[in-house]
């Protein structure tokens, strides 16, 4: 094996900021996280379709909740994590941090799209309309545009480190949108129902429904980690192309 890092044994803060270290470490992490996502999804789907009872008001249509709520949560959460890594990359000038931000953007965009799509298909039977320009739906649409703007801006600038910084600023400015989405149902009168779960308050849905939703949320979470880390590994190789360690990697597998 090659030794491109001078990391001493034991953990230290910037150990995985080294591209080869990051690549090797995530190579071990991703299969485990992906397997966990698959298992959680199977358990969650079982709970959601076979254990959770039919809803008294919405009938079977409410089962959309088990993918809608996790997708909406992840759309917001992934954005915060993306902005965090963009900020770290901006301040400390660490390449892996900016790569993490770039790797998270498409996954977050996918989650935002799925939240909107499943929400529309739930809204139709629940409220009689696929879409309404209310605060929550509009701010979630803006979230999708922020992800797309981040990706578009990043790919529009040739110098990759300049692209990291410019897109990073966009990501940070866009963070204000996340609390707007989260609190929109409290701040504005909305067609959208309030939260079924919030901190410091008992959940307003039945236990089997809650269990299905939480297991599905964990599955989505693990999925997002696996997808974003795999994309991050690809970006690391793409950006480090020509370096000794990527060459050595090619040699290993040849």
């Amino acid at each position: 094996m090659h030794d491109t890092t001078t990391a001493p044994s034991g953990f230290h803060l910037f150990q995985y900021a080294s591209p080869p270290e990051f690549y090797r470490f995530t190579g071990k992490v991703v299969p485990a996280v992906a397997a966990l996502a698959a298992i959680l999804a199977l358990v969650g789907l079982y709970l959601g379709f076979f254990v959770a009872p039919t809803d008294a008001q919405l009938g079977e249509a409410y089962r959309i909740m088990f993918v809608h709520v996790p997708a909406a949560w992840m759309a917001m959460f992934v954005y915060i994590v993306m902005a965090f890594w963009a900020a770290v990359g901006f301040i400390l000038n660490t390449r892996i941090s900016s790569i993490m931000a770039s790797a998270l953007a498409p996954t977050g965009a996918s989650m935002a799209f799925l939240a909107l799509w499943t929400g529309a298909l739930w809204g139709r039977p629940a409220w009689g309309t696929y879409w309404d320009w209310d605060a929550r739906m509009t701010s979630t649409l803006i979230l999708l545009f922020l992800y797309m703007g981040f990706m578009a801006l990043h790919s529009a600038i040739d110098d990759v480190r300049r692209a990291d910084r410019a897109a990073g600023v966009l990501a940070l400015v866009g963070v204000v949108n996340v609390p707007i989405i989260y609190f929109s149902v409290q701040w504005w009168n909305s067609l959208h129902q309030g939260s079924s779960i919030s901190l410091g308050r008992a959940p307003t849905i039945a236990a089997p429904m809650l269990a299905a939703m939480l297991v599905m949320a964990l599955a989505f979470w693990m999925y997002c980690i696996a997808a974003a880390l795999t994309r991050a590994r690809a970006i690391v190789l793409e950006r480090e192309r020509g370096s000794d360690w990527v060459d050595a990697l090619g040699k290993e597998r040849a």
Binding site: E60, I64, L249
Partner: protein, 58 residues
């Protein structure tokens, strides 16, 4: 158990197109992204190797 059989399960109490329309697109998005990132990673690995071969041939 909520369902009397496969037909009843697929019918989703009359909400089939909403429920399966939602789950179907989620499954599709997950599939597309999973395949996409794996192809991208495999290509990045292959290009690292191609460059190696090229450099070795010189």
């Amino acid at each position: 158990m909520n369902w009397g059989g496969w037909r009843e399960f697929l019918n989703m109490g009359g909400y089939a197109r909403y429920v399966w329309g939602a789950y179907g697109v989620v499954a599709l998005a997950v599939l597309i992204e999973t395949v996409g990132v794996r192809i991208r990673l495999a290509r990045a690995r292959r290009l690292g190797r191609a460059r190696r071969t090229q450099a070795g041939g010189r």
